[in-house]
């Protein structure tokens, strides 16, 4: 007969002790805090002028591509307002071809002094990210950057499991606190965002986060296996994950681009999938707690990324590929209220089959910056200046 490792009459006591200790930890530090309903950053939402504005193209070009790298896609701009040397960073994925094992995340900075992009550097690759996670990554793509209150850059990168993009997860990386120089970027892996129960499958990130008044942010993501619906992840001012919201009642849309018209009235423009042929829009009037479909916009779109940005002085700007021209034409619109839009202004126009897609928008030093995929071979950029129509007339 085997001896008991613990007297039988002590087992319930031990069990009760463990049970109480679980409660003690739950009481000391809650597992999660309420995240929904936090207002958006007030600094970005003053829609003041009703006059027409004229956009003037100031400069444009191509971001330097890493040597001997033929493909590039999915750029993302992030402003560096407190950095004395660099005003802007752009991240994108580059390699032999999309969804290839050699694809890595590249970064370049806009030098305030030289008024030019720095030579690109590699910041993330699938091998080192997978090693840090302890879980393999097949391919990486779609970087999205964010600057937290401590001026640390966070990077959210799509990493695929078995099955390509449909088996994607989102990897969170961050600059270490003791090494936040943007010119020598180093990123440490924080972990994967927990977004679903089934092996965390099929979540991707594309567009810039929405800043919140408390310094935190809402990261827009989407799910794309079977149904396609938006997902929002909430982060604290230090970039700590706080929770998610999955809009399972929405379908046939992906890649939400969120703007806050005021602290609690938010709009999310999305890339549409069949049967939709217009830019899809959902809205929230309670700071993202509840979302509902908005009336269809008049602008055509199907299966091409839509970027949107609320400008600090004048309404919202949007970049999209019209459905009629697939991805060979990239245009920009302007709106005071995010609903009624101006006529399209051409950003890039190419022949049939060419691609100018995946725009990213940022507002830096009173200028609108746009980056986009250029023929899948590189990343193009443009800088625009806005003036009121009255002032701009000769």
């Amino acid at each position: 007969m085997h001896k008991f490792w613990l007297p039988s009459d002590l087992k319930p006591l031990l069990w009760f002790f463990c049970w109480v200790m679980v409660a003690v930890k739950l009481l000391l530090y809650p597992v999660s805090t309420s995240h929904g309903g936090r207002p958006a950053s007030a600094a970005i939402s003053t829609i003041a002028s009703h006059s027409d504005h004229v956009w003037t193209l100031e400069a444009q070009g191509l971001v330097p591509q890493p040597p001997l790298i033929p493909a590039a896609h999915a750029s993302n701009l992030v402003a560096l307002p407190n950095d004395p040397r660099f005003s802007l960073a752009v991240f994108w994925f580059a390699g032999s071809k999309e969804a290839q094992p050699d694809v890595r995340i590249a970064m370049s900075l806009w030098s305030r002094q030289q008024q030019a992009w720095t030579e690109p550097v590699w910041v993330v690759d699938r091998i080192s990210a997978g090693d840090a996670l302890g879980k393999g990554i097949l391919h990486i793509g779609n970087p999205v950057a964010w600057l937290d209150q401590q001026q640390r850059l966070h990077l959210f990168v799509v990493g695929t499991g078995l099955g390509g993009w449909a088996a994607s997860r989102v990897v969170h990386l961050r600059q270490p606190s003791d090494h936040i120089s943007p010119s020598q970027p180093q990123f440490e892996v924080i972990g994967q965002l927990p977004l679903s129960w089934l092996w965390n499958l099929s979540h991707l990130v594309r567009h810039a986060p929405l800043p919140l008044a408390d310094g935190g942010m809402v990261l827009p993501l989407h799910f794309e296996l079977g149904k396609h619906f938006p997902v929002f992840a909430w982060f604290s001012a230090n970039g700590e994950f706080q929770g998610i919201q999955r809009l399972v009642h929405i379908n046939h849309v992906l890649q939400p681009a969120v703007v806050a018209m005021n602290a609690t009235h938010w709009l999310a423009y999305m890339r549409s999938l069949p049967p939709y042929e217009k830019v899809s829009l959902i809205s929230s009037t309670d700071a993202g707690v509840h979302w509902s479909w908005h009336d269809e916009l008049s602008m055509s779109n199907q299966n091409s990324a839509v970027a949107a940005l609320l400008l600090p002085t004048y309404g919202v700007v949007m970049a999209r590929n019209p459905l009629e021209r697939a991805r060979s034409l990239l245009v920009m619109h302007h709106s005071e209220d995010g609903l009624a839009w101006t006529a399209p202004q051409t950003l890039a126009d190419g022949s049939t089959g060419s691609e100018y897609s995946y725009p990213s928008l940022s507002w830096v030093d009173d200028r609108l910056w746009i980056s986009y995929t250029h023929l899948r071979q590189g990343i193009a950029w443009q800088r625009w200046r806005s003036e009121s129509a009255v002032k701009a007339k000769p």
């Binding site: 530090y29 090693d131 972990g191 679903s196 089934l198 919201q245 999955r246 399972v248």
Partner: protein
């Protein structure tokens, strides 16, 4: 690092990366050991556990590819899977008469028990694909869900003792308590309570165990 620093660190929703790696390794080691115990041609289960655990440990220590590949495909097993594997090992090491879930009585009774993870798993699966009108997975980040589980565990264990229910009730309640406790203190494996309690592999295994118990009951009725 003092206890308060540690508590502050674990106040975040997500587990620390090192914690994720520790549980990723430990969970897969436990699951792989349990699986290999089923196939090693040794009569003595104690030796099977020893050999398979040692072999698995050495493989994972010297060669990171299997662990990385398992993570690539299946992420990390749940804490509940880890606890059940450890419990199975514990029971086997103590002797064949005390094996968890394998006595005749346990098979009869635990058949109904497996319906709980089966049901929860189906709900989480449908939720993953957006087939439910509400979002279940997000609730796994809320303390309220863990509090609810805590209350239910207490009631379950109290019932098990006061009503002198079968022994498997106490064993399973203990596994759930340990898994919940590990989750509350470490937030492994992902920060979401559902991931701590149930993974797709355990959910599939629950189907097999439930079908086995149904088959067992049918054949027993036919033979009686």
């Amino acid at each position: 690092m003092n206890i308060w620093d540690w508590l502050a660190q674990t106040a975040t929703v997500l587990p620390q990366l090192q914690m994720q790696q520790v549980f990723h390794t430990a969970s897969w080691l436990a699951v792989l050991s349990w699986l290999s115990v089923k196939f090693i041609p040794l009569y003595d289960k104690q030796w099977r556990w020893l050999v398979s655990s040692l072999f698995g440990f050495l493989v994972l220590l010297c060669w990171s590819t299997p662990l990385s590949s398992l993570g690539l495909a299946f992420q990390s097993p749940s804490l509940m899977s880890l606890c059940l594997c450890v419990a199975a090992a514990w029971e086997d090491l103590r002797g064949p008469s005390r094996r968890l879930f394998y006595s005749t009585l346990a098979v009869q009774a635990s058949g109904w028990m497996w319906l709980l993870p089966i049901t929860v798993g189906w709900m989480l699966l449908m939720d993953t694909f957006g087939f439910l009108p509400w979002d279940i997975y997000s609730i796994g980040f809320e303390p309220a869900l863990v509090w609810l589980a805590w209350v239910l565990m207490g009631l379950w264990m109290a019932s098990a003792y006061l009503l002198t229910l079968a022994e498997w009730h106490r064993k399973v309640a203990t596994c759930v308590l340990v898994a919940t406790g590990l989750f509350v203190y470490t937030h492994a494996p992902s920060g979401n309570a559902w991931d701590a309690w149930l993974d797709p592999g355990l959910w599939l295994f629950a189907h097999i165990r439930w079908l086995q118990s149904v088959w067992f009951q049918r054949t027993r009725i036919n033979h009686s």
